[in-house]
Symmetry: C2
DNA sequence: TATATTTTTGCAATCGATTGCAAAATGTTA
DNA sequence: TAACATTTTGCAATCGATTGCAAAAATATA
């Protein structure tokens, strides 16, 4: 009933055993200079008295927090929540804790989040950039103080920061080539802010694939928006109102692709025969929509695990961060009905 | 270039201004006893010298962490990531930080997570229970020390802990009644572990609706599984192999409902005419599947916001937790094609 | 037994911010 | 100007764990 059970400290243990707090402190963390017997007594007393270490005191003294910060654009997307789950697993196993915050796709909030992380003295920071982040001055303080900074997915190339991502260029190249193989001659591309590597690279892959296959690039077929469901809907109308409609669409994200498909289906466009579709991300919805959506699969969970492991290895084993400049994870083209034209060779 | 820029402390500021650290400390937090002019000087010096408060020292002295812990079954579900996003927003605005961990639906991990939260001295804890948690002894230490504990969605009734959830009973009652109205006479129900309020209440609502409408309850039509996509697939086969097939299915979760529908569609079952379907959660996939899935909508984001606000109000304004015993949020029946039989009156 | 070695332990300072209480500075009133 | 009230400030202890260094205890060697 007592709200006020007193906290047990190493001094209480020391008193009880008639030894010094220093010995207790060392004993608790298995310091080699402490006698085995004394250690046993200390551990027993600690357990019996319900001791729990005060991490503030320890952090204050040791100047490290055992906390890793994470800043992501949004927590509630299928991909990102997979990433977070992967990070959480690795970090938790290493006895670190996570501070998580979301930038809500705004650079302004990202800046303030970074500041909060800095003031809370995270031991490391993992970041996937907001939609409109134009520079990373707000992360300089970390770099200057030698606090490890790792980028993932939406990265920023920096010599001191490892980056974990996929080969967006190649994935986009492959998926575009696939559409061309299926007989598409006018392929539209819907993408996001070209400041972000993920979207710029996908656009580049799309354009290169067109070029290599001698398909002329038509800039009325390139739409840049925020890749939301609403934007997908609007893009559908925009594309259907063109003087010459596309016969294929490659969207840089499944959510947007699917709402675009749905809007087109309502206007009686036949997918894939009138217009073939391809997305990106292998979102759960992509194999629910009919026809199922051709897309690029890459594992958020693994990306989270990998990024976290690099961070933890640096913090725990003092691994050199420079050594891992960047880490490219596997991605895979998944061909489904949305891009398989009837008359095609495949 | 210097990795080792020294941290600025209140003592450095005090020295520079020839005043005491106590005054600096008070000045920085706008203590009323400090002269306006002195305050201005302190703030200016702090800014100029790049001071940042050391939260460890502060926490150590104040015995509070400004950290709120969250334990959820999984981070990567559409619903839960919405909840987390809502929590993050409220908590962040109040200048608190979040420790997040996932129990992965296992009581064992939930126990160890709770312990970690306790040792890290969170100021409050928010929990949605794991699939198989059978008691909450692992949370007693929080209750005993007066650390506020709030349950949401998958709750545990406890006089000292507010709970935020929806009326699962009524929602299930409504959705089952709707299926009956549509002419269903043999309604199967797929649900999860009946230890969890959310599933037990939904099952209860289902059964009561049957009873009130004089539809006999057939226990071969009640399937309890883990509500995963795989389980939905298996349930489809189980139901189709019954001597008399159901003409309606109410699943306690959309993910499972959709995989069940997909499996049935593959066997040429016509939905809704052969078998009507209803789910729960309004997952994004529910309006992508064809036919679109009738379901119960409840806003994870709002649930997260609400739960977090109760916590924050308690911590910041010292609101009484007892006062809010439980908070029932709105949920809404969303009728879509999956449950609209052709010959029905509606 | 005396001396040298090796193992164990303790002293005391340190990490920065906070706060009760007393003292100093300033302002007010008679 | 004296006496008193009000504002501002500073002293010094405190929150617990950590750690360099020295001292004590235990063990080994001559």
């Amino acid at each position: 009933m007592s709200d006020q059970e007193k906290e047990v400290t190493i001094y209480d243990i020391a008193n009880k055993l008639n030894i010094s707090a220093a010995t207790v402190s060392r004993g608790l963390k298995d310091h080699p200079a402490i006698n085995k017997n004394t250690k046993k007594k200390i551990l027993a007393a600690a357990a019996e008295m319900g001791y729990r270490s005060n991490s503030f005191a320890s952090n204050l003294r040791k100047k490290s927090s055992h906390i890793i910060g994470v800043i992501v654009p949004r927590l509630n997307s299928s991909f990102m929540s997979d990433v977070i789950a992967g990070i959480e697993k690795v970090v938790n196993e290493a006895n670190y804790n996570l501070f998580i915050s979301q930038s809500l796709e705004s650079m302004k909030k990202e800046v303030s989040n970074a500041k909060a992380m800095f003031n809370n003295r995270v031991d490391g920071l993992m970041v996937s950039l907001a939609y409109d982040t134009s520079d990373i001055a707000h992360f300089e303080s970390f770099i200057n103080r030698g606090i490890p900074l790792v980028f993932f997915d939406r990265i920023y190339e920096h010599e001191k920061c490892p980056s974990i991502y996929i080969n967006n260029y190649k994935a986009a190249y492959d998926i575009t080539s696939h559409l061309i193989e299926q007989g598409c001659k006018r392929i539209a591309h819907i993408s996001g802010n070209q400041l972000r590597n993920v979207y710029a690279e996908r656009t580049r892959g799309y354009q290169q694939a067109l070029k290599d296959n001698h398909v002329p690039f038509d800039d009325t077929l390139l739409i840049i928006n925020d890749l939301s469901a609403r934007a997908g809907n609007e893009a559908a109308n925009q594309l259907l109102n063109l003087p010459v409609r596309p016969d294929g669409v490659f969207v840089a994200n499944d959510i947007c692709a699917i709402s675009c498909m749905q809007a087109m289906k309502k206007q009686d466009i036949k997918i894939p025969d009138d217009i073939a579709f391809a997305g990106f991300n292998n979102d759960p919805t992509s194999c629910v929509i009919e026809p199922n959506l051709t897309t690029i699969d890459y594992k958020g969970y693994e990306m989270g695990e990998t990024a976290a492991r690099i961070m933890i290895n640096h913090l725990v084993n003092n691994d050199d961060l420079q050594k891992t400049q960047s880490l490219i994870l596997r991605s895979e083209l998944i061909i489904r009905e949305s891009s398989l034209k009837k008359g095609s060779k495949t």
